[in-house]
Structure formats: C-alpha cells, structure tokens
Amino acid sequence: MAKRIEATNVSAYYGGFKAIENITLTVEPKTVTALIGPSGCGKSTFLRSINRMHEVLPGARVEGNLTIDNQDIYDRDVDVTAVRRMIGMVFQRPNPFPTMSIFENVVAGLRLNGVKKKSILEEAAERALRSANLWDEVKDRLGKPGAGLSGGQQQRLCIARTIAVEPQVVLMDEPCSALDPISTLAIEDLMFQLKDQFTIVIVTHNMQQAARVSDRTAFFSIEKTGDPGRLIEYDNTQKIFSNPSVKKTEDYITGRFG
C-alpha cells in the first residue's frame, strides 16, 4: 500500500530561474518526513515536483529523476492525473472551490472522478471531516459555501478534501500555519493515523512540530538570494534535532540562522 518516493538529482526551474538544485533523498513508506528550511529555499517547489504540480505553472520544469515504488513519475507514458490521485496535496494557502458547498468541496475529488452514489459520498465526507477535526463545526451547515468558513476552517476543509480521496502519499505544505493549537494537535493526530498506511511529507516552519510528528527531517537552505535551494542534511529527526552533522543545520535549528 504505502509508497516509497525516491528523488535523484532533482532540479526545478521557474523559467530561467533555478529554484532547487540536485535534491537527492528517499522518503520511506509509512513515515512522516518533514522538510524544514528558511523561507524561499524551495521546500514548496520540491513538494510540488513530487506530484507534478510544478509543471502546471507556465515555463516551469523539473529535471532529474523522481520515482514512486520504482515507477518513474516523470515518464512520458505516465498519466498525470493518476500520479496526482496517488499523491495528494494540501496547499500552503487554502483554496476551497468557491462555487461549491462544504459538502461538495470535501467530496469534490471523489465526485469529479466519477463516484456518484450518495451514501458513499456522505460517508466519505463525514470520515474526512472528522479526521480533519472540522466535523463538529460544520455538520449543521454542510450545504453552505466552503468559502464562507474562517481561514483555519478552510485549511482544514482542504485537508479533508485531500484525504477524502485516500491518496497513498499525502504532501502537506505548512498545513498548520493558520491553525490554533487544538486543530494543530488534531492534524498531528491525523498524521499519526495516516502514517499507519500512507506516506506523508510535510513542510513546516515549526521546529517543535517537525520534532513531534516526523520520523525523518530534511533541511533545505540557500547560500544567498538568487541561488538555488539545496538539501543540506537529511537524517532521522532525532539525529537532526539532537546532533546534526552539519553546522548550518544546527545554526538553523537553534535559531542562529542568518
């Protein structure tokens, strides 16, 4: 079930600008992997390369090799929608569909991929909303527009929307940056649950969160603005936070960065 993701020498460009360079790392199945690093170092870019969202932007392209269970994600014959169905993503900024109700938002992935049966949709919606710790807040207004929720609620709605399609791999780009401590805990709980079956990659600026939830941590950094982001250190979270082997990592984690 769970998938292993291997990146070898992955570089990504926005037009002529190289945002990340030669990233090589392996995300083990049934683990939570945290990506940390200063703003603008290419964490989102790398995350978006994994499910081929990077290439959606005009002029953006990816080089190098990315595989999921030894299948090349960027192979010419690969169906992009299949990749994205297998590798779900929560974006840095919540983006609920404005014309859809809360319920329709949650089941959008199922519905737009052909699931019609109402009972299945309702069950999936409740399960996803409960996992995202949103069910109690919205259960009485499932027919109301998703854009009418607060920012944090919208973010949890997007998390629910992503896990409703039950992807094998879940990519989360700062999923908790707009959430209160209670919802943050709920999302972290969710990650622990999901980890039993799935593979999770999370970007976070919260060191404690990275230390709490992740099994392995990757530290990205840039030399100076305009340079591409690089992977500085990738190891077990324990090791990274207690005894990093690179000085730069230690500086960043202890807050002595830049």
């Binding site: 929608t81 169905r85 993503m89 974006f91 992935g109 737009l112």
Partner: protein, 362 residues
Amino acid sequence: MSTTVTTHRPRPTAQPTTLRARRLPRYAAPLIALAALLVAAGIVYGTGIGGPVLVVVVAALLYLAGLFAAANAVEGRRAARNRTWSALIHSAFVLAVLPLASVVWTLVSKGVERLDGNFFGTSMNNIGARDPNGGAYHAIVGTLEQVGIATLITVPLGILCAIYVVEYGRGRFSFAIRFFVDVMTGIPSIVSGLFVLAFWVLIVSPMVNDGRPGFSGFAAALALSVLMLPTVVRSTEEMLRLVPAPLREGAYALGVPKWKTILRVVLPTALPGIVTGVMLAIARAAGETAPVLLVAGGGAAINVNPFENNQSSLALFVYQQAGDASKYSPARAWTAALTLVALVLVLTIAAKLLARRNRLGR
C-alpha cells in the same frame, strides 16, 4: 520596542493630538444646496440669460464652491477636498443616469398608446396607411428567432474559443485567434450584413434553392452571430483569466483531469461574468437593424420559419414605422421600441437570476 532609542528622529507624519475633529452640521449640505439654487435662479432669471437648465448648472457649480468654502473654514482642507470630490462623483452619477431615465420615460410615455392586445397579436399584413391598428407580432417572432439562433451559435462557439485561448492556447495560433477576435470587434454591423448577403444569401443558399437568393431569418442570425461572437469571446476570456490559478491547482491535485477541472470548477466560478458578457452581446444583436434589412429583407406578414422567406425584427420594424408616412405609424414604432427594451431587460434579469441560483447564497 526599546525605549532607549526614542531619539529625535521626526515622525513621517504629524501625529494628531485628538481623534475628534470639528464637523459641519448635518443640515449644512442641504442648506448650501438650497442657497445655491436660490442664488442661481436670481442670477439667471435676473439677467434673463437662460432657463431652468442653466439654473441647475449654475446652482451645481455654486454648490460645489460653497461646500468647499464652508468645509474649508470649519473642517480644514483635507475634509473640504474630500467633500468636494464626493459631491463631484455624485454629480457624475446623476449625469450618467439622467439620459437613461429620460430614454425610459420617453419610451414609456410614448409607447403606452399602442400597448394593447392587438399590437402583440397581429402583424402589419394588409394594413394600409389609414388603418389605425396593425401590430408587431411578426417582428417579435423575427427578433426572438434570429437572436435565439444567433445565441445558440455564438455561445458555445465563443465560450469554447475563449477556453482554448485561456486554458490551452500557447503560441502563435492562439495569438492569431485573439488578433482576429479583436479585429472582429471593430466590424460595423452593415459590413457583417453585407458579408452574409454576399456569402450566404447570394452564393451558398442559391445552390440548394434552385438558384434563388435565400433571404431568411437564419441569414440574419448569421449576420448577428458575426457581431456577437467577439463580445462573447472577449468577455468570457477576461472572466476565465480572473479565476485564480490555485483553484485550478486544487482540482488538479485531486487527480481531476484538466477538461473536467475547466468544466466543473473554472466555468462555474466564472459563470456570472460570462452571463453578463453574453447578455451584452444579445442586447447589441437585438438592436441591430441594418443586417436584418439586408439579409432577411423585412416583411409585413407573420413568418415563423426562420429558414425560408423574408422576416422582420423589432429593430427593423421601428425603423420602418418611424419612416412611414401614415399618421398611425409613429405610435407603433414607439411601442415596438418599448417592447424591444423590455424584452432585453427581462432576458437580462432572467439570466442573472439563473446565474445567481447556480452560485450558493452567502
């Protein structure tokens, strides 16, 4: 932060010492307006240089000056500028609404004379110069059919075209499409009528018509389509571009294919704007006279078949009745004009309501 750094660096803006400011009393503005009106009337009628219109113009200028002076004296310069600008903006609004109100008033007051069952139930067939009745049934049928067919042609074509340009088009071909759509926007209606006359009426339809030219409502619909298409394409294009990219990405990330994303996420989000653009195009087409005259020929009798023989339309009916020598025809022209405006208005409202129903209530 640190209180030790309270140096003598001057602040970028002077800090107010109090939040309250002196304000003009609420009755000041109406009072100044009244005074301006009285003074203006005095000046204009006293010197005998004009009538009520000049009074209003002079009063408006006096009001602006008076308001600025009073506000400047009591509230200060910034508040005075603010007041004057908002007064100017309100006057601009009134100026813009005046012609509209005047048009509606003229239409209703003159059109009501022939607003009867006979007008909507009969045609102009066998109506001579001395007959007071006669109606626009044939013209209403013509307008509805021609505009309806033109809409059926342009809406799918225009929306697909815009989707191609926005979502798929990269490079030269899409640039060419945009260029030609822009050129089409500038085509005068008479030229589109001539084009259809030359191409469809005189060349294509004679081939299936034993050599007779094929004047018809459908030909008029074709000419109207040429006029509507660029409006539909451009407005849809603008609306599609307004849909934020993260919405598309949200759908892609769920594994939804691109075409389905466009159909189920992008189009519904842009729908209200698209509907507005389509309604603008329809309103423009419904008011066109020249192309209908050229390729549908007009006609006094009821012809419900848009594919054969002459048809009239409301705009054409107005044109013909307004130029007719009969003393009964101006009334018919006014009522037909009123009908045309009402028709477009009802269609617009209906379309907006439909588009809104698709959106969720906030």
